[in-house]
Amino acid sequence: MPTKEEVFDKVKDSLIEALGLDDDEVTPDATMVGDLGAESIDFLDIVFRLEKAFGIEIPRKELFPEDILTNAEFVEGGKVTETGLNEIKTRMPFIDLSKFEEDPVVQDFGNLLTVSDLCRYISGKVGAAD
């Protein structure tokens, strides 16, 4: 069972490889899109690398809730509804939604995910120890 530090190191390596980053750019607080410059297609690359690095399967919906964000049941006037937010929280308990909840504009969701969110998700998958 890897430690959380080992998880971070492997996630970091995967991001450096996939996004062509320098070592010091990958910090826990960095957002994937805004800070690290990940584009939509990069996420496919990142997921491939994480699956290989950790020997796990990552169901795409667990990291990219497109089906929620494009569902009229969960979105109203370009914003995620209360029900939608609850749906996201259930599916993505590793992500901090507190700021997003203040003004849940769908377009802003893409820039929420941080490196530490990703590490929390992976730690949950592999049962990482402190």
Binding site: G20, L44, D45, F48, E51, R60
Partner: protein, 180 residues
């Protein structure tokens, strides 16, 4: 203009590795015109040649039913230019193959010398693109025959590749034959 950036497959092992060759010649306008007075094969076309080698390798593994697109060039480096008279040997190796895409490593050699290397990400277009064909199937079959893919193609167990039924049926239809 034909968008063929490999001349022929020389090895093809399903789901694992493909090797194709590309001969560089002054008869190609882009070789002569890319840099005035310094004829080389434009590096972007070497990337494309490796993408065609790797893309067909990925596509064949799914019996050419998936719509495979080059999504990303993760890394690329060129060690030396490809000049007229050079034969580039493109080797594509699958590093990871999944339901929604693949990562392929590619190298280009001139003789024993590494000329370029790269890493590519291919994606399978999903259901949103259902019904959108990248190629006419009969033309596609003609293309892979032209590339010699079926002459050298082998399954993982060493047996020769067979042409998927859906491509043969499309070809028969295009030729006005009744295969029912």
């Amino acid at each position: 203009m034909r968008w063929f950036w490999i001349d022929r497959f020389v090895e093809f092992e399903s789901g694992h590795r493909a090797v194709a060759v590309k001969n560089v010649t002054l008869a190609e306008e882009h070789v002569l015109d890319y840099l005035q007075g310094y004829p080389i094969l434009p590096p972007s076309l070497i990337v494309e040649g490796l993408a065609q080698t790797g893309g067909l390798l990925v596509s064949q593994h799914g019996d050419f039913l998936e719509r495979v697109v080059l999504a990303k060039v993760s890394k690329v480096s060129f060690q030396q230019p490809a000049r007229p008279g050079d034969t580039l040997r493109y080797t594509a190796t699958i590093e990871d193959l999944q339901q929604d895409g693949a990562i392929v490593r590619g190298t280009s050699h001139i003789g024993e010398t590494l000329q370029a290397e790269l890493q590519l990400v291919f994606a399978h277009l999903d259901d949103r693109f259902q019904g959108v064909d990248q190629f006419y199937p009969a033309d596609f079959l003609q293309m892979i025959r032209t590339f010699g893919l079926l002459d050298v193609g082998r399954n993982a167990d060493g047996s020769p590749l067979t042409i998927p039924r859906h491509l043969l049926e499309a070809e028969a239809l295009a030729n006005g034959e009744d295969r029912s």
